[in-house]
Symmetry: C2
Subunit: 176 residues, 2 copies
């Protein structure tokens, strides 16, 4: 099976990266988006924006739902509404979405710097890194192919430093 297709639930972690300069908070930007489309400011949307932009770096729908109030509790948001709202966030440019191991993973886009990921096939950690060189090279290659770039997604798979150094002895052999 490919490295991108492990079946265990993955741990998702990340470095803290410096925030990008933005004139509005994600909340303000989302409100503007709603206004521009004639959509409504509801309790659920307000609550979800807050949650998503206070807690996470990467997450999938289930991880988000898990840390939301349960049915019956205050601020409960149903599963379909979570999915519908995540779509709106992507649409509004607040979140970016990609797929890993068959499920959708979301990460902050608005106010968050461009970055790529290392994916460790041992511990399944998804770790961010920044490199302007990648963007430069990407644009250069796209120019050569007359392709108009909108964005890109790069995941480097392999074994992270932790997993290849502090690995117990009897596993050393698998590490090359």
């Amino acid at each position: 099976m490919s490295e991108l297709a492990v079946s265990e639930p993955e741990q998702i972690s990340s470095f803290a990266l410096e925030a990008v300069e933005v004139s509005q908070t994600p909340i303000e930007r989302f409100e503007e988006y709603l206004l521009s489309r004639g959509l409504r400011k509801t309790e659920q949307r307000r609550f979800l924006v807050e949650q998503v932009f206070s807690h996470h770096e990467h997450f999938d729908a289930d991880q988000l739902i898990d840390q939301l109030p349960r049915k019956g509790e205050e601020n409960y948001v149903s599963r379909p509404t979570v999915y519908r709202t995540l779509k709106e966030f992507v649409d509004a440019g607040l979140l970016r979405r990609f797929e890993l191991n068959g499920r959708s993973v979301y990460e902050h886009d608005y106010g968050y710097p461009e970055h790529d990921h290392f994916y460790c096939v041992k511990c399944h950690a998804l770790t961010e890194f920044q490199s302007e060189r990648i963007t430069q090279l990407r644009d250069e290659i796209a120019r050569e192919h007359r392709f108009r770039v909108r964005s890109h997604r790069l995941i480097i798979q392999g074994v992270c430093h932790d997993c290849s150094s502090r690995r117990n002895q009897r596993r050393r052999q698998d590490l090359v």
Copy 2:
């Protein structure tokens, strides 16, 4: 909705790239894999290797099944067996797998050069390109982060040349 998340069935196309030097055909290599694991050479496996390595560049399970014989016809292979066998191909290093729009997409790995993709958000074409510079940069960055690279996956999203040039007038405005 993100570019990676269009819901229409995507067209998948590619450039012809030069084959990499290999000492065995995919079929031979698969047989060796089966042998090494004590698995059996069955009609279904033999037929699927042939199909996959004669027809496709990129495909998903449904596209493959569509061009296989139907139930009742000669060489019919059931859906579960197709999925099981695709997994074996990935395991054997014959195919690589990645996810696009929520489904698994497969491409030739064995005997096929390393490459990356452009994904056109207008026509949904997935087009291959080769660049050693990307691999170099990837390895350089990984070294800096002490990450042991096994492979990578890069998809550049945007608008392909065809879609941005021979586009009808009333669409010009969406092209940035």
